[in-house]
């Protein structure tokens, strides 16, 4: 758990849609839980499964990968590859005891500030429900 309570979330946000969406949440003052750490990547398709696994090893309770909506990828198809990759990574994590709910893929466009803040909030709730990793209580 984070020093100021609540589950820790690492967010990999694509530069073109989702990072801008998070900015939009800021600009429109839509607050969300503070325990997310956002890492800016060029495209959701850039996110290597290694980074996700390392994040969990680092102590993250959840990992959020966010990219442009299907069809809107700045690089035309990156998010489709991301979708396949994480669709397979989730069951594998689940299989070794890291509940698949802990890895989330969201589509957030540059205008969807509200969607982003809600996504973080609902992810936080989900993770609280699951409890800290490894020992559910």
């Amino acid at each position: 758990m984070d020093m100021n309570g609540g589950p820790r979330i690492v967010g990999f946000l694509c530069n073109w849609c989702s990072y801008a969406g998070a900015d939009m949440a800021g600009t429109s003052r839509m607050s969300y839980p503070p325990n997310i750490r956002i890492i800016r990547v060029p495209c959701s398709g850039r996110v290597d499964p290694l980074l996700v696994v390392k994040s969990f090893q680092q102590g993250a309770d959840g990992v959020l990968v966010a990219g442009c909506h299907p069809g809107d990828c700045h690089y035309t198809e990156g998010n489709y590859y991301a979708r396949r990759r994480f669709a397979l990574l989730r069951p594998l994590l689940d299989f070794v005891g890291i509940e698949q709910e802990r890895l989330r893929l969201e589509w957030v466009s540059a205008s969807e500030g509200r969607k982003f803040s809600r996504a973080v909030a609902s992810f936080q709730e989900e993770l609280e429900r699951l409890g800290p990793r490894g020992h559910r209580g």
Binding site: L50, Y80, R85, A87, P91, L92, V96
Partner: protein, 282 residues
């Protein structure tokens, strides 16, 4: 049928079709089998073929790139050839595949073999190699498909139980990387786990690091594992590694209707996509 192997090997070597024939010979324990690299027709007499011939010999093709080589392949091993051809590691026309049909193989460890077949044979979809230049039919009833029983057992557990199960497994790992060395899909010049800059996996041999290694290793084989089971066979501390591979094999087949190595053309799951798919699995 052993004779058939030897004849074929002699023929290929004396005709100069290949420089080397990779097959099996009896190990010095007199019970199990071991690989034989025959370079001359004479050596061909030493070839054997029975249910102790467990090794995936096709993996050695990676060490003979560009050199005409014949290799004895069981159905599972034969998928290696398609995998490596698709991934531009070997040239099909440099390989002469001596395919053998397979009723399944036994657990073989130094000085001892089991009666029953290896568990992974139960999930094997094949009886005949998917590629061969010459086919040898081995008599014997093939055991009925059992699917992935251990897998289902584990899937039935709670995440917590699974976590504990795997922590027990992973903490035994001594990171000898035998699983990698024997794997036909592991041919990277410098494996990510050996890289120091950046250091993906800590040098410390402890469960967290070991877990990263095994997860990523399994994921790097997602849509690529041809189910030869060698990783599990060679693991000195008996970690049931095939469970991880089988899990992904099942998921890949379920999501993308794809099973690796059945042909050399179909694009593997990570090389392509469909616009309308997977919104549920996200």
């Amino acid at each position: 049928m052993v004779e058939e192997v030897r004849d074929k090997a002699r023929e290929l070597l004396s005709a100069g079709t290949v420089e080397c024939v990779i097959g099996y010979e009896r190990a010095t324990d007199g019970i199990t089998a071991r690989p034989l690299f025959a370079y001359s027709p004479e050596e061909a007499d030493r070839f054997i073929l029975d249910r102790t011939c467990v090794h995936n010999l096709a993996r050695y093709l990676l060490d003979r790139k560009g050199k005409p080589t014949a290799v004895v392949v069981k159905p599972c091993d034969s998928r290696t050839i398609n995998l490596l051809v698709h991934e531009n590691q070997i040239e099909r026309d440099k390989v002469f595949a001596i395919g053998v049909t397979c009723p399944g193989v036994v657990e073989a460890h130094w000085g001892e073999t089991t009666e029953g077949l290896q568990s992974r044979c139960g999930s094997c979809p094949l009886e005949v190699p998917v590629v061969y230049d010459h086919l040898i039919t081995v008599p014997g009833e093939r055991q009925p498909r059992t699917g992935f029983p251990e897998l289902e057992k584990l899937e039935a557990m709670s995440p917590q139980e699974r976590l504990e199960f795997w922590q027990q497994q992973f903490q035994r790992c001594i990171r000898c990387y035998a699983c990698r060395q024997v794997c036909p899909g592991c041919y990277c010049p410098i494996c990510f786990v050996d890289q120091l800059d950046p250091m993906w996996v800590g040098i410390k041999i402890a469960p967290p690091e070991n877990q990263v290694w095994h997860l990523i290793r399994a994921f790097h084989l997602a849509g690529r594992c041809i189910e030869c089971g060698e990783c599990q066979r060679v693991c000195p501390v008996n970690i049931p590694l095939m469970l991880l591979n089988q899990k992904l094999t099942a998921e890949v087949e379920g999501m993308f209707d794809f099973r690796p190595g059945l042909d050399a053309e179909t694009l593997p799951p990570f090389a392509t996509f469909r616009k309308e798919e997977l919104e549920a699995e996200r």
